[in-house]
């Protein structure tokens, strides 16, 4: 009886302590994320156009959403985002995995290569954008310079001049920055696979492909899922690179949904439609987040 009392008192004290330890973090996150998220849901249902200051902001239900869904530029942005995300993420995952497979052996300078792989990941995304803008410069850029010196082109190419080519260049710049870190994640996963598994397979006469398909791939699948969903989430939200490299152009060819929302809100100053567009984008991101959590749980149960 006394023991139970003591135990429950201890439990209460621990709960109090937990509340005290959690309070600052909860308070900050409530102010910075939870409250704004709710308020912006409300704003997305108001007519609130800063260019029409006298109309006030009446409640108009889902009309902002309907207006956005009827906007051809929105669908253009959705298409560009889809191409960018699928193109960039699959390029990064596949090349990241291939490089990791090739580096997963002992060679002199391996640690150096790993350290250098952090360079693209660590520099600010806007610096990445500026850097590629300079490399791709039509008159003085290094890419034209190299191809011209090697005799591969006769005249300089305007890399950011047409929608398709510039979207490819945006994907290239994104892949340069993101692939090395993905490679490091895969490398870490590959190193947890015990060598005996491969030796046993070799005794059974398995070739390289069989070993990859039956041993490597199943064992790195969790890492693959997690990386895939995390990269997809970040790529869906891309903004810094687009802002500095192409500003969405030419003719909306690289206008991703994040940039479209930015323009609606801060250039057209239509807060209601901007919020609606942002919410549509958030819904898509949250679907991927759910898939990510599924992947995490799967990893938890399999490990």
């Amino acid at each position: 009886m006394a023991l139970a009392q003591k135990k429950s008192r201890k439990n209460r004290e621990e709960q109090k302590l937990a509340a005290f330890l959690l309070a600052p973090a909860i308070l900050i996150m409530a102010v910075v994320t939870v409250y704004p998220l709710l308020r912006s849901l409300w704003i997305s249902m108001l007519e609130w156009d800063l260019t029409k200051p006298f109309s006030g902001h009446p409640f108009i239900g889902f009309q902002n959403y309907l207006a956005i869904l009827k906007d051809p530029v929105f669908w253009q942005a959705a298409k560009v985002t889809a191409i960018f995300v699928i193109g960039a993420v699959s390029l990064e995952i596949i090349s990241g995995l291939l490089i990791a497979l090739l580096l997963n052996k002992n060679f002199v300078g391996r640690n150096l290569v790993r350290t250098l792989s952090l360079l693209p990941w660590a520099i600010p995304p806007v610096v990445n954008g500026i850097m590629w803008k300079w490399i791709l410069n039509p008159s003085y850029g290094a890419l034209n310079g190299i191809l011209y010196s090697l005799g591969l082109i006769d005249e300089y190419i305007i890399w950011l001049g047409n929608p398709i080519l510039s979207l490819l260049m945006v994907i290239l710049a994104d892949a340069w920055k993101e692939t090395p870190f993905i490679m490091l994640l895969f490398l870490a996963a590959l190193q947890t696979i015990p060598g005996e598994l491969y030796e046993a397979a070799e005794v059974d006469g398995a070739n390289w492909f069989k070993k990859f398909w039956n041993i490597t791939l199943p064992l790195i699948k969790p890492t693959m899922f997690v990386t895939l969903s995390l990269r997809t989430i970040w790529a869906l939200k891309s903004f810094d690179l687009i802002y500095t490299l192409t500003a969405g152009g030419p003719s909306n060819g690289t206008n991703v949904i994040g940039f479209y929302t930015y323009l609606k809100t801060f250039v057209s100053l239509d807060l209601g439609k901007g919020s609606a567009s942002a919410y549509l984008m958030t819904i898509v991101v949250m679907i991927v987040v759910l898939l990510y959590q599924k992947a995490l749980n799967q990893k938890g149960t399999s490990a």
């Binding site: 937990a18 409250y35 704004p36 290569v113 600010p124 806007v126 850097m131 300079w134 190299i146 991101v285």
Partner: protein, 308 residues
């Protein structure tokens, strides 16, 4: 006789297979190294070109094709950005802004890191060791908060900061950055604490410590690598952040990422100056990443990949 023959034939066979094996191994090694060299070039070349551009005189940069190695390298742009230039009309305005941007980034990133690591570690400890109602929902909630696109909450945040007179201030940015980076700190530290055996704290608790002293005396000294990883990551993310800095600052609190992008519009012709700004602005995160590379890769792998 026959035994000798077969012996020598076996020896021959062994020798040739060994030789084959050796050539195959040698070939494999060569391919690996060739590949590694190509990889290193691909990783370094763009950045190295930015460094070369930053020390090349304008004339050499606009040659066709450009001079890959400048004949007359110059540090004048670095001097101009750091000490202010003695001549030249356009540079001084940029210079004043540049140093201020560096200072703002430094102050905001350091304070954000300190607040995030302290409050995040406290929360993570409670979630890892103490009875908390709805623990799992809380963890999933923080994860979702971290994944939310910033743009969806920017308008309410703007109105909020305006109300408290925090637009274009360092404290405004610090508040926002802290809110956005706390989830990562909580997740990484939480998974780190779970790897520390609970028996160590239990011993301390029996010895009369309470949870707070056990956390400070027993758990934290064992959490060094985790703390280093989250600190470095938080600093780096704050330093590199651009979107919120673009929207919530206008003159006083502009961070280096915003200042560097403004170079490109205002001094569009002088790519050398942009490159210089880019190089200097990248130095703090680069140094940090290289110093703590082991912890960063390990810590983030743990945070991103280990669910619980």
């Amino acid at each position: 006789m026959s035994t000798v023959l077969s012996y020598s034939s076996i020896k021959n066979k062994l020798h040739s297979s060994w030789k084959k094996h050796r050539t195959k191994k040698w070939l494999g090694k060569t391919i690996t190294y060739l590949f590694v060299i190509m990889l290193v070039i691909a990783i370094l070349a763009p950045f190295v070109w930015m460094v070369i551009s930053s020390i090349s005189p304008q004339v050499e940069l606009s040659a066709k094709p450009p001079h890959w190695f400048p004949e007359n390298p110059t540090l004048s742009r670095y001097r101009a950005l750091i000490f202010g230039s003695s001549s030249g009309a356009a540079v001084p305005a940029a210079t004043a802004k540049f140093l201020k941007g560096m200072r703002n980034s430094l102050v905001v990133s350091v304070i954000t890191t300190v607040i995030c690591v302290v409050t995040g570690t406290m929360a993570a400890y409670a979630l890892a060791r103490l009875p908390v109602l709805g623990k799992n929902n809380f963890m999933i909630g923080t994860l979702s908060a971290q994944m939310t696109p910033v743009i969806v909450i920017v308008i309410p945040l703007y109105l909020l900061l305006q109300q408290f007179d925090m637009i274009d201030t360092q404290r405004g940015l610090i508040l926002l950055y802290t809110g956005f980076m706390l989830p990562t700190v909580i997740w990484v530290m939480h998974s780190y604490f779970l790897t520390i055996p609970q028996s160590l704290e239990e011993a301390a608790l029996i010895d009369g410590c309470n949870h707070v002293t056990a956390l400070i005396k027993v758990v934290l000294p064992l959490s060094g690598p985790g703390l280093v990883a989250v600190s470095a990551f938080t600093f780096l993310s704050s330093w590199n952040e651009f979107f919120m800095a673009l929207i919530f600052t206008s003159s006083q609190a502009k961070t280096i990422t915003v200042v560097v992008t403004e170079f490109s519009s205002q001094f569009g012709v002088d790519f050398g100056l942009m490159a210089t700004g880019g190089v200097i602005g990248s130095l703090p995160p680069l140094i940090l990443a290289f110093l703590f590379q082991r912890y960063i890769v390990e810590g983030l792998t743990a945070g991103a990949l280990k669910g619980e």
